[in-house]
Symmetry: C2
Amino acid sequence: MSKEKWTEAGEAVTALILDIFRLNSRLLLTGDRLVADLGLTSARWQVLGSIAYAEQPQTVAWHARSMGHHRQGIQRIVNELKAEEIIEFKANPQHKRAHLVLLTPKGQDLFDAAIERQIPWVNALSSDVKPADLEATRRVVHQLKTRLEQD
Amino acid sequence: MSKEKWTEAGEAVTALILDIFRLNSRLLLTGDRLVADLGLTSARWQVLGSIAYAEQPQTVAWHARSMGHHRQGIQRIVNELKAEEIIEFKANPQHKRAHLVLLTPKGQDLFDAAIERQIPWVNALSSDVKPADLEATRRVVHQLKTRLEQD
DNA sequence: TCACATTTGACAATATATTGTCAAAATAGC
DNA sequence: GCTATTTTGACAATATATTGTCAAATGTGA
């Protein structure tokens, strides 16, 4: 016998969460395909994006936190990207061991190439989404994300 | 020099995707915590949900497809759940080897217990989301998911 | 009915993610 | 300044996910 009941919003968010799980896995899969022959994966691409869009060069731990991933996982990817000269380390004036990560010119080119593919893909994907719906979606997703990140 | 440009919607969806990645990982993390002491994880819970809500008992491969996961990953989890007598197999009249999966009474109790925790959690999480925004969000997420699943 | 493709679970190999520990370095509180 | 706590990268162990292969079973098309 159930004591608790969903509110209307609770029920809707429950259904939304299940759809988000599936959407997330589809996005990763599609992303993998989109950049596979560039030597990238969704995971690598996401790391490059975090580096490319950071206001300042940052440490591995910072990027991991920022993406909501484990430090060790990002470190592994960053080490690979370093070996392939896609990123490089720069001395950190604030910390002797925690170097700052930045894109090499080759890494920047690679990231640009990925973006060149992402643009027509995402434009097509989003072409018949209503702008008002899209705004609302960004509000909700951002709100949920922020709430969950507070713990 | 970039040849392509984002449409407004394309730019918004790009930002949305990044937020969805983070929201997804937070949801998994929070889900793990919510049911950890029941002996569940987000992954196990999701499998139980797929079994519990299926109209008919289904095969492992069906559930994997339905969740957008690999057959082998779901098989591994199902085998564990079987060993713990949370699910059981039933002979499939249509297929000699591909058995149907269903919850045992113990499994049903476990799933109910998880739901009992999920309800107050999701009610609180969604309490100040505007109903109209929520509807729009479900539309958009569903639309994007459906589009990506067509490939 | 018969060949041929597809689906399925089992199994194995590999890749990736997660968790834990350590010591160096930095930060906070005194 | 000095100690305690926190952050960080390195390393290792484990867990989980992904990919590939196989043979049994089913489905498909002549």
